[in-house]
């Protein structure tokens, strides 16, 4: 059994690396056509992401929301219910956490942070609960409702930070700052890397354990793969779908809380520019595998930080970097297909085996 798994994983990794390689190759060709040296370009990309302590820290800081939203996607998608509403849940969670942070300044730090995280998880989870119920009880497509609820949440928090909770010192587009003591400790000077990366690691380990090692993870998976079967065999499929949505929403909410406590120290009206969508993409690419989500998040964070310094270092316009980046994503996404083609080739060429 182990052999099969290793073989499958190897196949997956090979085709993944092949597709990344192919994408980089196409990117290189585009660079050449634009009169740039691809070796210099990619060198700058890697150096931009890992070239110094600060840069490594910056890259890793970016993985936090990606991992959390990626895991959030994984738990919902594997359970056969599609939470596309992570963005909205993140916004609401971030706001709730910020609210705790600027309202209960006198609480002990430990209590306040726990309270903030719980509030963000609760709000995010609740906001995912509604589309979950609409899906399970009324069979209303959760893809639409969660997309719609994203806009609603973003508008609603936008109202909050511009009217009742606007920062007291004028032009901000955010709430007041959370109490100084609550801010997560920074780990590397200048960078945004903070202790939330440890909490994220804990959450990732917990989610890995839940998904891969427990009977509950097994139930989620079975509900996702055939919910009629799950029901027939004694797993309450509807309950598990809703649970998946709640966990998913809670993780997105926590991602929001970490952005507030670790990065911005207040809620900002545009606190996330599509983290949840990036996380979704990541989870899809690695097929909801928690370990894969962590690794792919690092890769995505590398692309983001690296390409950012690439423009300064090489003069390759950022638009071109954007094109290359999207080609890389397209090719990683096509990984499965390339693998199938290779397999078919092998089968047709190869000899008959029993």
């Amino acid at each position: 059994m182990f052999k099969i798994k290793i073989k499958e994983n190897m196949e997956y990794l090979t085709s993944l690396f092949l597709s990344i390689f192919a994408a980089l190759l196409i990117g290189a060709i585009i660079m050449v056509f634009n009169g740039q040296n691809p070796i210099v370009g990619y060198g700058a990309l890697v150096a931009g992401a890992f070239g110094s302590k600060y840069k490594i820290a910056t890259t890793f800081a970016k993985t936090v929301p990606l991992i959390l939203t990626g895991l959030a996607t994984a738990i919902s998608f594997m359970s056969g219910i599609f939470n596309i509403g992570g963005e909205g849940q993140l916004y609401l969670g971030a706001f709730a956490a910020a609210y705790v942070g600027f309202t209960f300044g006198s609480l002990p730090v430990f209590v306040a942070i726990i309270l903030a995280i719980m509030a963000s998880a609760l709000v995010g989870g609740l906001y995912a609960y509604f589309p979950g119920v609409l899906k399970v009880k009324y069979n209303i497509d959760e893809v639409i409702t969660t997309i719609m609820l994203n806009s609603v949440a973003i508008l609603f928090t936008n109202y909050l930070v511009n009217y009742p909770f606007a920062a007291s010192q004028g032009k901000m587009g955010g709430t007041d700052m959370i109490s100084e003591a609550f801010k997560f400790t920074k780990l590397v000077r200048l960078s945004k890397l903070n202790t939330s990366i440890f909490y994220t690691a804990l959450i990732a380990i917990f989610m890995y354990y839940l998904i891969k090692k427990t009977s509950f993870g097994y139930n989620f998976k079975m509900v996702g793969e055939n919910s009629i079967f799950a029901k027939y065999a004694g797993v309450n499929n509807k309950k598990y779908m809703i649970r998946a949505m709640i966990i998913s929403g809670a993780l997105c909410g926590i991602a929001g809380a970490f952005e507030v406590y670790g990065v911005h120290y207040r809620f900002l009206q545009n606190i996330s520019k599509g983290y949840a969508f990036d996380g979704m993409l990541i989870a899809l690419i690695v097929r909801n595998n928690p370990v894969g989500i962590v690794l792919m998040s690092i890769f995505f964070a590398m692309l983001k930080t690296g390409s950012n310094s690439m423009e300064i270092a090489t003069g390759i316009p950022s638009e071109l970097i954007l094109v290359i980046q999207s080609i890389i994503i397209l090719f990683i996404a096509g990984e499965n297909g390339f693998k199938n083609i290779i397999k078919k080739r092998k089968l047709n060429k190869g000899k008959l085996v029993k």
């Binding site: 099969i4 427990t214 097994y218 055939n226 009629i228 799950a230 027939y232 065999a233 004694g234 089968l347």
Partner: protein
């Protein structure tokens, strides 16, 4: 010598990990009925799909009407008069019967638009010509499998097929429907000069209809014989490689307490029509109650209602002396019920999951397989799965294989392995051997009897009268959601029971 209408030369087909067809050479003569038999997973369907252009053979040659076919598609096979009715129906559920029949070459007006009126007329004409009655305007999703079968045949005939490949056409048919189908086949061959290739697991059918039989085993063509030269026993032995005994069953008298009690049960079918009308039955420990009925008369709904998979409108169900009327499937299972569902693909299995995960289902929270009901003991689970695979003779390369890639019979064995290994007193069994080969049938029947003799109360629904008669202690006939008769085994013959299955009520005193 007869014309060789189809010929295969050294055909092999490799799937990842499976050599489904291994160096097969055979020919089909014009105007004959050629049967193919073999165990589940022997490669029968694969071979047929190769003839039809759905699979390209990995090596070997295919000739249709003397013409060598290379890299051909079903379209080209159809052009040369080959038609195939697949094991799993190839019909679009939301389309009407007429739309399904003409799909792919629709009659048109103005060269642009589909002429629906004409389609309907064509179907009516076809129906008449071949004696296959259908209502062209009904949607496929609303008609019985028997009708769907007819639609499939009409579809091939509409396309002008003179070579018909029928892959297990009788698996889902009632005996009456099978009889009608055979009449049609004979008419097609004798009067209309068609050639028929038929796959079936029922050896009596082979003897009844075919001229020659090809026997497959583990991807190889074991042999080809003239039907007149063999009997069921010889065929079974050729298929399985050993003697198969579907002999008499020892059933020691067990007189137990009532474990299943159903009182005045009323329930609806999927479309919201009444399907069970005040049904009352009971089953005692150590007893098999067989339910005979033509499909669609409420048998499926009865089992589902008891299992908690269907809402009970009124009435009562008592299992193990506890009322279960409003409980959900999980709570009913907790009362000690195992359930083999009628449709293994939809209800009984998760195709995308491994055999292990399918077998674990229902035991994932047990102390045996998880610490505190939470942490899965994977090694133990794997051993357990391996053990069941061995015990229930599931043919597979590994317990990590996805269930969806097993052959139908082996999938069924996985369901049975799981459900029979619960320590339950009550078994609900629906169509346990549908599409299963004779070797496996023998095995499954043995398991059911073993459960009975251990003191289980078993409710059995099957479209196979043979099966009902062979296994049941008592038989009930259902017609349109009502009980029309109740008999002790031996009280009534197979021929007589059809009378009750079609609605003639036995006067109950």
């Amino acid at each position: 010598m007869a014309e060789r209408i189809i010929e295969l030369k050294n055909v092999s087909k490799q799937f990842p990990g499976v050599l489904a067809n291994d160096d097969i050479s055979l020919h089909i003569n014009k105007g004959e009925i050629y049967a193919i038999v073999g165990e589940n997973g022997a490669g029968k369907s694969t071979l047929m799909k190769t003839m039809y252009g759905l699979h390209a053979p990995t090596s070997g040659e295919v000739y249709i009407k003397g013409e060598k076919m290379e890299h051909f598609s079903p379209g080209e096979a159809i052009k040369r008069g080959v038609g195939m009715v697949h094991q799993h129906f190839m019909l679009v559920p939301s389309f009407t019967i007429a739309e399904n029949i003409v799909l792919g070459c629709e009659p048109k007006n103005n060269t642009l638009f589909v002429d629906n009126k004409k389609s309907v007329e064509i179907v009516k004409d076809l129906s008449k010509t071949y004696g296959l009655e259908v209502n062209p305007n009904m949607k496929i999703e609303d008609v019985s499998v028997g009708i769907q079968q007819r639609v499939e045949i009409l579809k091939t005939l509409y396309k002008g097929a003179d070579i018909l490949i029928l892959d297990e056409p009788t698996a889902v048919l009632t005996p009456q429907e099978t009889e009608e189908l055979f009449k049609v086949i004979k008419k097609l061959v004798n009067e209309l000069d068609k050639t028929v290739i038929i796959i079936t697991h029922k050896l009596n059918e082979v003897l009844a209809i075919s001229d020659r039989v090809g026997v497959m085993r583990q991807g190889k063509l074991e042999g080809v014989v003239n039907t007149t030269d063999v009997n069921e026993r010889i065929l079974a032995e050729m298929m399985v490689g050993r003697e198969v005994l579907l002999g008499d069953i020892k059933r020691p008298e067990t007189d137990g307490e009532r474990l299943i009690e159903v009182k005045d049960l009323v329930s609806k079918d999927n479309r919201g029509f009444d399907s069970l009308n005040k049904i009352s039955i009971n089953v005692a420990a150590g007893e098999i109650l067989g339910i005979a009925g033509i499909e669609g008369n409420g048998q499926s709904e009865l089992i589902e209602a008891i299992a908690g998979m269907r809402k009970i409108e009124s009435g009562k169900v008592i299992i193990n002396n506890r009322e279960s009327t409003t409980l959900n499937p999980k709570e009913i299972r907790d009362l000690g019920v195992a359930h083999i569902p009628e449709d293994r693909l939809v209800t009984g299995l998760s195709k995308e999951s491994s055999i292990t995960d399918n077998i674990l289902m229902g035991k994932q929270h047990s102390n045996e397989f998880s610490k505190n009901g939470i942490h899965l003991k994977r090694e133990k689970i794997t051993d357990y799965a391996k053990n069941l695979i061995r015990k229930f003779d599931v043919r597979t390369a590994s317990e990590e294989v996805k269930v969806g890639s097993l052959s139908g019979g082996n999938m069924q064995k996985v369901v049975i392995a799981r459900e029979f290994s619960f320590d339950t007193k009550v078994l609900l069994i629906s169509q346990p051997t549908r599409g299963v080969d004779i070797g496996a049938i023998e095995f499954i029947h043995d398991q059911i009897i073993k459960k009975r003799n251990e003191g289980c109360a078993i409710l059995l629904v099957s479209a196979e009268l043979d099966e009902i008669f062979r296994l049941s202690d008592r038989i009930i006939t259902l017609y349109e959601g009502e009980i029309t008769g109740e008999f002790k085994n031996g009280e009534i013959s197979k021929n007589e029971i059809g009378y009750y299955m079609t609605g003639n009520r036995k006067e109950l005193e």
